[in-house]
């Protein structure tokens, strides 16, 4: 068998020499997944913008598996990519891979999610949404809807999750900053899950009844859960003002029908575009900021027809 393998290797070498190598700059993009409501449009936007910029993109999907991702960084280095865009799913695990890329002279940036501070020396920039700012914008929007007073409930995402911490923290801090008369009755974790939000909302509606004068949900899916629970309990009675985040299509419908007050569009298209544009700047030798947030748009009934839903 050894002889056969040797023969194969020799013929492979010969083929390689015949093919030759002449190509544009290649960016290796290690994405979270290739079939996902948020990630897919982000991936597509990134590739489309790369075409315009004349960059070649090698997309590797981790399929939400951190270990796969750490190995894919090796593929990027082996492929001698000119730059790496990483969608981290873990605060630490990618650091050795990023260090290896740095040693090979390949610049890396993060898209969408942050990593721990120890990663900072190995990356050029982090592009993506500012989840703390989203929380603050949600506080502003809910204050507008309630004229700055009343009592609200907060339906938060997963406990300990970076997005949850940012979105709740930004909201609470902003209310404090405004010296708002809005009081938070309770904060519950519903893990960004519609079903869990429905169950939690039933309890909250039973417990607080008419005291619920406003709702802040960490994402639109959980806002939907509250709306369903409200309908079960009160039929056609109008919902209190509800503020969500993400800017999903069905949230837009809820805003049109008046079931929701507002949402915040965090566009996966902008997310993908900004990352590849930042990488293009790095490859052109330009300096880039260590933190580049994507634009956020608060959507209410006023502008719901003018804004594209995020996904």
């Amino acid at each position: 068998m050894a002889h056969r393998i040797t023969t194969s290797l020799v013929s492979a070498l010969a083929l390689m020499a015949a093919v030759g190598t002449a190509e544009a700059k290649t960016v290796c993009y290690v994405t979270a997944a290739d079939a996902h409501a948020y990630a897919t449009p982000a991936n597509e936007a990134l590739s489309a913008r790369a075409d315009e910029l004349g960059l070649e993109v090698l997309t590797l999907s981790q399929n939400f598996d951190v270990q796969t991702g750490t190995e894919q960084l090796n593929t990027c280095i082996a492929r001698k990519a000119d730059g790496i865009i990483l969608w981290p799913l873990d605060p630490q695990a990618y650091i050795p891979g990023l260090a290896r890329a740095q040693a090979a002279g390949i610049p890396s940036i993060l898209i969408n999610s942050p990593m721990s501070e120890q990663a900072n020396e190995f990356i050029k920039s982090f592009t993506g949404p500012d989840v703390y700012e989203e929380g603050a914008l949600a506080a502003d929007s809910l204050s507008d809807a309630m004229n700055g007073e009343g009592s609200v409930i907060v339906i938060a995402g997963q406990a300990g999750n970076g997005t949850t911490i940012g979105r709740v923290g930004g909201f609470v801090d902003r209310l404090k900053e405004l010296d708002s008369k809005i009081e938070i009755l309770d904060t519950v974790n519903a893990d960004f899950d519609q079903q869990k939000a429905l169950v939690a909302s039933r309890d909250l509606i039973t417990r607080f009844g008419d005291k619920i004068m406003g709702v802040y949900a960490n994402d639109d899916t959980m806002a939907r859960g509250f709306i369903d629970a409200w309908k079960e309990a009160h039929g056609d009675k109008p919902t209190p003002p509800i503020v969500g985040i993400n800017g999903q299509r069905d949230a837009f419908d809820s805003i049109r029908s008046g079931e929701m007050y507002s949402t915040i569009v965090q566009s996966p298209v902008e997310d993908g575009k900004l990352a590849i544009e930042t990488m293009a700047n790095i490859l052109d030798g330009k300096e880039v900021d260590a933190r580049l947030p994507i634009p956020l748009t608060v959507v209410t009934k006023e502008n719901v027809e003018d804004v594209e839903p995020a996904f």
């Binding site: 068998m1 056969r4 393998i5 023969t7 194969s8 290797l9 013929s11 492979a12 070498l13 083929l15 390689m16 093919v19 190598t21 190509e23 997944a33 290739d34 079939a35 993109v57 090698l58 997309t59 590797l60 999907s61 981790q62 399929n63 598996d65 951190v66 270990q67 796969t68 750490t70 190995e71 894919q72 090796n74 593929t75 280095i77 082996a78 492929r79 001698k80 873990d90 605060p91 630490q92 695990a93 990618y94 650091i95 050795p96 891979g97 260090a99 290896r100 721990s116 120890q118 300990g160």
Partner: protein, 320 residues
């Protein structure tokens, strides 16, 4: 028919060769020392576990819990770092893997639970313990610099991990072909009653197989956690299937009694080069698994329908 039976005999070598040739032709930059060394490092995670599973499969048993053991050992090794230090914590991590194997052996050998069912259950149990120990959050180790050292490439070709894998394969080959215990393993896998009758302790052989398989998963898990400075309850969730695929592609039969170290090496390298080649050309992850699945089916069907002309001795032939 002659040609076909020749093909079946050397199928792993041929498929591996074809994969490399096609990949080199289609994918620029595939064939190179960097690709080889990094690909080898990547293959060694699957490979170390595959070494353990080869032994267990030859004995006619299976272990579905290796992916969970992989995660659990890594978590143990990382969480104990602050109190024990890097080295001792790693040892305890590997021992945790061995303990999992002993538990599998207890269920399958002592209580006679079918290995598929027993290790399906422990797969869920070990995975849940991993989540419980960590609150479902990844745990960071104490020394990121060590991870970076571990990722270093020596002689332009080997990392610590890939060297361990290759040495492991050589040792396994020698053991399976030269040692009495190695040959007893084939006897146990072919026919347990016959082996028992000829004086081999079937129970102990199988138990040792389970403990060895889990220990190797533990070694791979600890190395992974050291290399990434992270212990995570979600590590290795897709690993088990890939490892079994690699071992089976390498000619080891799930029914037991047949398999070889070199075959497993070929299987591991085939799966690794397929993955790398498809990643190099941006093939979506789900489609990669379709290709891997079809190659697995092709090889197994060929194995069943075509009888090699000379019935090769199971241990000696590189890839029967």
């Amino acid at each position: 028919m002659d040609l076909l039976s020749q093909f079946v005999r050397y199928r792993v070598g041929i498929i591996l060769g074809l994969t490399i040739i096609v990949a080199s032709a289609l994918v620029p930059g595939f064939f190179g020392l960097t690709t080889l060394s990094l690909g080898l490092d990547r293959a060694s995670t699957i490979g170390l576990i595959a070494i353990g599973l080869t032994v267990l499969l030859i004995a006619g048993q299976i272990d579905l819990s290796v992916g969970s053991v992989f995660a659990l050992s890594g978590i143990v090794a990382v969480t104990l770092q602050p109190s024990l230090g890097l080295g001792p914590a790693a040892v305890v991590g590997v021992l945790a893997g061995a303990a999992c194997g002993a538990f599998n052996a207890l269920l399958s050998v002592v209580f006679k639970v079918n290995a598929l069912v027993a290790t399906l259950a422990t797969m869920l149990i070990f995975r849940s313990i991993a989540h419980w120990l960590t609150d479902s959050q990844p745990v960071a180790g104490t020394d990121i610099m060590f991870s970076i050292t571990l990722a270093k490439i020596y002689l332009n070709l080997f990392t610590v991990r890939s060297a361990m894998f290759l040495v492991g394969i050589v040792l396994l080959h020698i053991w399976l072909t030269r040692a009495v215990a190695g040959r007893n393993l084939f006897a146990v896998g072919s026919s347990a009653p016959a082996a028992e009758a000829s004086g081999i302790s079937v129970g102990w052989t199988m138990a040792a197989g389970f403990i060895f398989a889990s220990t190797m998963a533990g070694v791979a898990g600890v190395l992974q956690s050291l290399a990434t400075n992270t212990g995570s309850p979600v590590f290795g969730s897709e690993l088990t299937v890939m490892v079994i695929a690699a071992v089976v592609v390498g000619g080891t039969r799930l029914e037991g009694g047949r398999g070889s170290a070199l075959g497993t090496l070929g299987g591991v390298l085939t799966i690794a080069s397929l993955t790398t080649a498809m990643e190099f050309s941006s093939v979506p992850a789900y489609f990669q698994q379709v290709v891997a699945g079809f190659i697995l089916i092709l090889l197994v069907v060929l194995d069943r329908t075509v009888k090699p002309r000379t019935r090769a001795h199971s241990a000696g032939a590189p890839a029967p």
